[in-house]
């Protein structure tokens, strides 16, 4: 039962990175690809129909984290307080700016465009730093209380992850725009996507190599690492062959794999401290009571299936490029 819920949580967080990752990527590249207002509207219009549905995967994931793994939820955010706060600041700025930017036909939009780009940068960096911290272990004392060590949460290894996530999301955003943006942008997005392959590969290699020295990982993490390298390889081949949809799916998988690696890094432990003799939390300890998990099992997975199906309809209806007749809400 606990394993099932760990998988549900993994599915939701991986889904969030796979989907919302290209939203942030598009935000990162907004100024570079959309050179004028009409261009920027089309770039934002590319993720338009998916945007609201993508962002709420995070809310659902955190809800399941709270419902099924309350003890983990109580440690994981407070232990990395500042990265989570900057993540939220970036997320709020980005999400609000995207939704409010184009609401008035006659108004200037420069400030909103800036807010989208800055919000996307802060969000991408903070996700990387937060996940990098989870790889190293959080600065918690023996009782699991945060030590509040600012330098520990912004360690060089965590900052490497921050930079790495900017590359991964930007790559994903470029691959997405190659599929959905009007054809006139394809050459530019393709070029950017190819240029981002090398930094992404560098991040994977350094993060895995350096991580292997820093932490004692369990063998369970191997599939996630293989998945990441495999996805990057496929993205490379697909971009070269001009198969945009394959490249998009590969980069979505690539962005989702770091969080899967974090979730499988030390099983059956789900959280450890970076402080010597510090705290650690096992999967079973982190979970809610069996009765509660049973109750949630009757309610949540059916709802998840229905919503995923509805979102699938959204993708089916919008699987071609943005054109003259597309509704551009954002």
């Amino acid at each position: 039962m606990v394993i099932l819920w760990w998988c549900v949580l993994g599915f939701l967080t991986a889904g969030y990175f796979a989907l919302a990752g290209y939203d942030y990527g598009v935000g990162l590249l907004l100024g570079r690809i959309g050179r004028d207002e009409a261009g920027r509207r089309r770039v934002l219009g590319a993720f338009g129909p998916f945007f609201l549905a993508n962002e709420v995967w995070l809310v659902a994931a955190v809800g399941v984290l709270f419902g099924a793994f309350p003890k983990l939820e109580g440690k994981v955010f407070s232990g990395a307080y500042l990265p989570v706060v900057t993540l939220l600041l970036g997320l709020v700025t980005f999400t609000a700016a995207v939704q409010l930017r184009s609401r008035r036909p006659d108004a200037g939009r420069g400030a909103w465009t800036l807010a989208i780009t800055v919000g996307a940068w802060v969000t991408a960096m903070s996700w990387g730093v937060f996940l990098g911290n989870l790889v190293l272990g959080l600065p918690l004392d023996a009782a699991g209380k945060p030590t509040g060590d600012v330098l520990a949460v912004f360690s060089p290894y965590a900052l490497l992850w921050g930079a790495g996530f900017v590359a991964l999301f930007a790559l994903q955003g470029a691959a997405f725009l190659a599929v959905r943006a009007p054809a006139e942008f394809t050459a530019r997005t393709n070029r950017i996507a190819k240029a981002l392959l090398a930094p992404s590969l560098a991040f994977l290699v350094v993060a895995v190599g350096w991580g292997a020295f820093e932490v004692a990982a369990s063998w369970t993490v191997l599939p996630a690492i293989v998945l990441a390298f495999g996805a990057l390889g496929i993205a490379y081949a697909a971009l070269r062959a001009g198969r945009h949809k394959t490249a998009l799916i590969a980069t979505m998988t690539l962005s989702a794999s770091p969080v899967l690696a974090v979730g499988t890094l030390r099983l059956p432990d789900v959280l450890v401290s970076s402080v010597d003799g510090g705290f650690s939390l096992g999967l079973t300890e982190a979970a809610s009571s069996t009765e509660m998990l049973t109750l949630l099992t009757f309610v949540l997975p059916p709802a998840l299936v229905v919503i995923a199906a509805v979102q699938g309809v959204t993708w089916r209806r919008n699987d071609d490029r943005v054109d003259q007749r597309s509704l551009l809400h954002f």
Partner: protein
Amino acid sequence: MDALPIARLQFATTTSFHFLFVLLTLGLVTLVAVMQTRSAFGGKPELTRMTRFWGRLYVINYALGIVTGIVMEFQFGLTWTGLSAVAGDVFGAPLAIETLVAFFAESTFLGLWIFGWGRLNEWVHLTLIWLVTLTAYASALFIMVANSFLQNPVGTHAENGVLKLDDFGALFTNPALTMSLPHVLSAALLTGGFFVVGVSAYHFLKRTTEIEFFRRSMRVGVLTSLVGSTLVIGFGFAQFGPLGEYHPGKLESPGALVGAPLGFMIQIGFIAFLASILGTLLLFRNWITKVRPLLYVMVLAIPLPFVAAIFGWLVREIGRQPWLIRGQLTTADAVAGIPAGQILFSFIAFTLLFLVLAIADWVLMSRVAKRGPEPVEEAAAPRTELPVLSGV
């Protein structure tokens, strides 16, 4: 520096911002759904344009409801870590159900609705707005279940300082919930009604040419306000009975801090009720659109339900102190051991960001509201040669 008051202030500020937006979201979506339904069942062409115009305002308001909600959800884990340690097995479930069954679904349906204008079958599109409404109400239900549990932790027993769930159903029949949930929902209706009436009044003051459009909007708004204010008062006073049972003396506890907002809220409730009755009487022969002094009052009254709602929320939450879960966990024990300086930083950063975004959002709404609906030709036939088409 003590972290507790800053952490409390941070949560209270976030929640206040969140409440201001979701209150109007809940009320306005109901009105939009009613308008679209009447339009679908062979109503006047104005009704389609009304759905679009009020729907556009609804969508602008919705944006800030989401982002403030995300920050609230994270704050349980950021600063109130004692809550998950003591009551995670109980409190987490309604929140998890809310996020997945209600909010996740709501946003998914709303996205389809926005981008389905003129693209989807009319009946599918109508179903979508009702699904958005329904899931928004479901969201309110589960959040109020969770909040009522904090007020009155029913259906559980304490075991080694940890709350264990005995009866999940008891969470839904909690006396702290049964009257307060309809109270909040009717407050939302009242807020939506006042908003629509106030904006329509503005256009009559500006001698709009869209007389039929705003006359109909005004009528829907006034009747919604009448229903909302009647119910909000009824369910408001109905709470005193159960409250006396589960938390006697709550309203006296920290003196004026609870008494004054309670008094103001009740005053505003009665004023809104009397105003709605007057408005309903004036619907006769559309007198309501012609009495200019009253139109000014209607515009100025838009913020009143928001003020009352914040007061009501203060009464409910301050009256609970010093407990986070009444009788089981104090806020002082629940706060995480984060250095106060870091919490102060996040408090200032969140507050400034929300303030800027809220002002920007309200300015946007007032501009869009003042512009009024799109001219008839454009709404009737979307010009395909336009470079940019907007959903809502």
